[in-house]
Symmetry: C2
Subunit: 139 residues, 2 copies
């Protein structure tokens, strides 16, 4: 078993699940619907979509298993609501790359005077990611 804490899923497992869940526009639309208008039951969520309730229910399952949707069962009603928490994982993952566009002009300038190859925006990467990578705040 893992030494620290009892979570059995790795960070990679979670990122796999969350990113995959979000890589479908129907699921993104469902999430947005939940975010904008609050919790709703499955049938209600399925209504606006041009597909069967069963299909939407499956999408909800995917979102649920990624932790992006939680449900509370009240009688025959399954009330689904958004859980934004897993999105932080993406946010955190992006931290390591944010430097590539927040300091884009600097990078481009430095690249222009130091490199010969074309299409190498990653030229400053050696410094960039290692130096700025593990910083929690934003550049």
């Amino acid at each position: 078993m893992p030494a620290v804490s009892d979570r059995r899923v790795s960070r990679d497992d979670r990122l796999d699940a969350v990113l995959h869940a979000l890589s479908d526009r129907t699921r993104r639309a469902l999430l947005r619907r939940l975010a904008e208008r609050g919790p709703a039951m499955v049938t209600e969520l399925a209504a606006p979509f041009d597909m069967t309730r069963v299909a939407v229910a499956k999408h909800l399952r995917v979102l649920e298993s990624a932790g992006l949707v939680s449900r509370t069962i009240e009688g025959r009603i399954h009330r689904c609501s958004m859980s934004a928490e897993p999105l932080r994982e993406i946010e955190h993952w992006l931290d390591d790359y944010r430097v590539f566009w927040t300091r884009k002009l600097d990078a481009l300038a430095r690249f222009a005077e130091s490199e010969d190859t074309i299409a190498r925006p990653a030229a400053e990467s050696e410094a960039a990611v290692r130096a700025g990578g593990r910083r929690k705040g934003r550049a």
Copy 2:
């Protein structure tokens, strides 16, 4: 044809592609490798992985078609480098949801006094996304 600008792929198309590309840990590892140590050729990138070169080449194709990797061909060498630009699309998509964790405590407090259902962190969503959604800066 689309009225404004000539891009034929929708925002949803791009998000689909980028999020799907990133939903595989091998591809994320490839991207990280490129970010940390700069451009490299296919064989070089494939070496550390416990899979065939062909498999890695396929992953690179996926990253490439999502715009996350670009390649320049120099003789028989295909030099791959990272393009961070598409990551901004994710960042931008996240903007609409960031309010859910940056103001988490407020949301929780308000939820506690206004709702009865359990597990409803999205209780404040009606206000949240609509009010804070389109803000470019961070809360």
